[in-house]
Amino acid sequence: MEFETVIGLEVHAQLLTETKIFCGCSTKFGGAPNSHTCPVCLGMPGVLPVLNKKVVEYAMKMALATNCTINPFNRFARKNYFYPDLPKGYQISQYAYPLAEHGHILIESDGQPKKIGITRIHMEEDAGKLIHDENNPSSYVDLNRAGVPLIEIVGEPDIRSPEEAAEYLKRLHEILVYLEICDGNMEEGSFRCDANVSIRPMGKQEFGTRTELKNMNSFRNVQRALEYEVKRQQYLVENGQQIVQETRLWDDAQGVTNAMRSKEEAHDYRYFPDPDLVPVTVDEAWIEQIRSDMPELPLAKRERFVREFAIPTYDAGVLTAEKPLAEYYEEVVKLCGKPKQASNWVMGDLLRFLKEERRDIRQCPVSAKSLAEMILLIENGTISGKMAKDIIDEMYQTGKTPDTVIAEKGLVQITDEGELAKTIAAIIEGNPKQLADYRAGKEKLFGFFVGQVMKATQGKANPQLVNDLLKKNLAGS
């Protein structure tokens, strides 16, 4: 039987505000346990939350970037459950009145654009962390993360394959990082994903029984976990077994998902409006203010690069994958006016160097200005493309400008026709046999003469000039 996969993703993204959502404590990752805490985020008796307005503004940016409708009336609600990392015994979240709803983003699926719906985006606080002592039957609670602002982005079940799921996550991640509202660090948990997945016979409308997957901390793991889970569900159906609605944890080492809790054990969170916080009203003026402050988003930037710089869609995709890279590239283009060449150097050499050293473009020793200068030196014939390969390597190693590298290595291209002509004449004279063979029709020997000239000039000769002069001289006059 042919099956169709149905996936919906829930993403939690930590917002990059300086302070927590309901108190003035720092949101910085790390720090000695419980050093970023106060009576409010420790849930002490009698303290009250005060909303950080920046959190609303960051969340509004994401809502606008994902084409959501922002609700004018917002309310925080309490999600009640007991756990030692949750100091108040409830999480302040949003329930009946979320910040934004009815959005979508575009992803690419089989080379075609596809719309994935966003059900809602809401704001909430993060919980703390438990640290377990293996030598001791006790657990410690670190509440540094308690109260760090999160947005939850709930996606529609529009995703039809694990690849689409990974693509959707990459696009969401890219938007969040572009907006500079989330650092996107999946290992530190700044960007987390849970997946709801079910299968149904192809062509059927009703959804199958779904399972919820947790504990996937990379794009790759999300895809692997979903691939595993889809196969597992297919196996069950094909063998006449029932799929149980439950939460399952991805085990990275084993490459399998394991049941964590069933629907029957699911919490009743007893949501109700938080009486400690007044409703937040969002008016048009506020939305417009946020909208006017939005940066260009990845998709728009990609389309503009293709249009303005006449580079292939693929190149535009690579160059806009991260905002600092796109900015670097644009700066190079601005300074040298050669978009295609700039893209070749950035995508070819620079990204390879950076990848080898696991650096990002912000740590690149070659400044946009230096790269632009190097491209111009190739264009005006001062250096050859081949020489440039060595020069950029040196620039990357030392951080020096192309002029400095060229001067230090004496690498300036010989473009003086008279000087080159003398060298060529000497080489022809010194190789009479090869000359005779060439003239007898062994045209392959042209390469031998080019090589000899380059050797004699230590590679500094302008190749085009060498070609022209050799052709003229070898032909004889």
Binding site: G46, V50, G89, L277
Partner: protein
């Protein structure tokens, strides 16, 4: 006359003029406490040493001419407001050893006004009760009859004023917890408009209903206390950034041109006849002040107790979830695992009334019941609020009994929670509507128990309450009595 028996406004003059010092006054209050506290039990914790130190500092300030509204005045705090470095129990075993690292905003304000804190007053556990019998630290007794309850939940704050164990005190009112004990103990008690006084540092019972207010010996003292307590606090999002008038300016005026609303739903069968008679006399006094009594209706009054006993426990069930034995407060010693620790700590740390309300509230918020209980109660709450909005179109102020009966006997209602809940029948709806209410003594029963009456006004109209109460106090000429302790 003993120094402890003066009012704030009398003491302000006497201390400033140097007639006696704050230290002398504080020692007088302490000696009174030593004399009567054993019988009344107003306090969970006394702060004698701290008070004497604060009084000395006040005396230095007075000498230096730095005099603020409460400089050197001994004030009691209900043990529900957090005091930095001083244990704050909320009347519960679960917080027996809890020492807050912060002051409630009202505590900061009182300190800034020069107050001397004399003790942390007894209360029903987590303010859940109408008699101060649910305190984990034993009941408080009514100074007018030690066999009777003082009301609650701010019973200790009321008795401390009534028995002269302080000059004024702070309480909190979620469904009548200031006004009801004020009435039963014969003192003035004011519950301000929701949002008028910061709740920061007030240990939450029901966040949408809780409000801090003063107990005083007379109306003028009440206005002095309100001048200190009222105002916006950026640490409490539900506090309202509205101008605070000088409440003293409402004193000593008449009520000419005022319409006094008499809601028929509050004058019903079952009210103690002596309370009814006292109210009838009070209406005459109000007329003598220039006011006109008009009949009004608050049609949804009959639902207020039911609505309250859904909303308040629902919020409480969530507010009290933080007492889990993990970070502070009581944790049971012998546990198998996490769930066991939660269950035993809460089972042993909370008293039965608190547990009853947590269960009611948890139930009311549960999946499948939310709409029928919490959802419906919220809708009816809006109707109760509208009743008052409509009523205040027709009158300036509303007059009702504060309680249906005078103080009842200790133990009389502890076995019957519903009867206990009904003792708040006249005070609850003000909390649901968020409006201010003031209870003022209006006489005594034949057996010598105080009777109180309640004024209610529109949002942020505390001034009207004080004006009406001040006019009444001046004209009623209620016999000045002291409990015979």
């Amino acid at each position: 006359m003993a120094l402890y028996s003066f009012t704030i406004h009398e003491l302000q003059k006497k201390i400033e003029s140097g007639e006696f010092s704050s230290s002398e006054l504080t020692r007088s209050v302490i000696s009174r406490i030593d004399e009567v506290e054993e019988r009344v039990h107003s306090y969970i914790r006394l702060l004698k040493e701290e008070a004497l130190t604060a009084a000395e500092l006040a005396d230095e300030n007075i000498k230096a001419g730095k005099i603020r509204p409460l400089t050197g005045i001994p004030i009691a705090l209900k043990d529900i407001v957090c005091t930095k470095g001083i244990p704050t129990t909320c009347g519960s075993r679960i917080l027996q050893n809890f020492v807050p690292p912060y002051d409630a905003t009202v505590v900061e304000k009182l300190k800034a006004a020069g107050a001397v804190f004399i003790g942390k007053a007894n209360m029903d556990e987590f303010a859940m009760g109408s008699s101060t019998e649910t305190s984990a630290f034993g009941p408080t007794r009514n100074p007018w009859d030690l066999e009777r309850i003082p009301g609650g939940s701010s019973g200790g704050s009321a008795t401390a004023v009534a028995a002269d164990e302080c000059i004024a005190s702070i309480g909190s009112d979620t469904g009548g917890s200031i006004r009801q004990p004020a009435a039963l103990c014969g003192v003035v008690g004011l519950k301000p408009t929701y949002g008028r006084v910061s709740r920061f540092g007030l240990i939450a019972f029901a966040s949408s209903l809780d409000q801090i207010g003063p107990f005083t010996k007379d109306v003028e003292d009440c206005s002095i206390m309100m001048n200190v307590l009222a105002g916006y606090d950026p640490k409490d999002s539900t506090s309202v950034n509205a101008e605070v008038p000088d409440y003293r300016k409402f004193l000593n005026r008449d009520l000419r041109g005022w319409k006094i609303g008499i809601p028929k739903e509050y004058f019903i069968d079952g009210i103690d006849p002596e309370v009814s008679e006292a109210l009838a006399r009070a209406m005459e006094v109000v007329k003598n002040c220039g006011g006109e009594c008009v009949n009004i209706t608050l049609p949804h009054t009959e639902y207020s107790v039911a609505v309250y006993y859904i909303i308040a426990p629902a919020e409480a069930s969530s507010n009290l979830a933080r007492y889990d034995g993990v970070r502070y407060g009581f944790r049971t010693a012998d546990v198998r695992d996490l769930t066991d620790m939660y269950k035993k700590s809460r089972m042993q740390g909370f008293g039965s009334e608190v547990k009853r309300r947590i269960m009611i509230g948890t139930y009311a918020l549960s999946a499948g019941y939310y709409d029928a209980y919490y959802g419906k109660a919220s809708q009816v709450r809006a109707l109760i609020r509208k009743d008052y909005d409509d009523a205040f179109q027709k009158c300036d102020i509303i007059l009702t009994p504060t309680t249906p009966t005078p103080a009842f006997k200790i133990g009389e209602k502890t076995e019957d929670p519903l009867q206990m809940y009904l003792s708040d029948i006249f005070t609850i709806s003000a909390n649901l509507a968020g409006i201010p209410g003031l209870s003022i003594p209006c006489g005594f029963t034949a057996s010598g128990l105080p009777i109180g009456m309640q004024f209610l006004a529109g949002h942020f109209e505390e001034g009207k309450l004080l004006q009406a109460a001040s006019a009444y106090e001046k004209n009623a000429a209620i016999e000045k009595r002291r409990p015979n302790l």
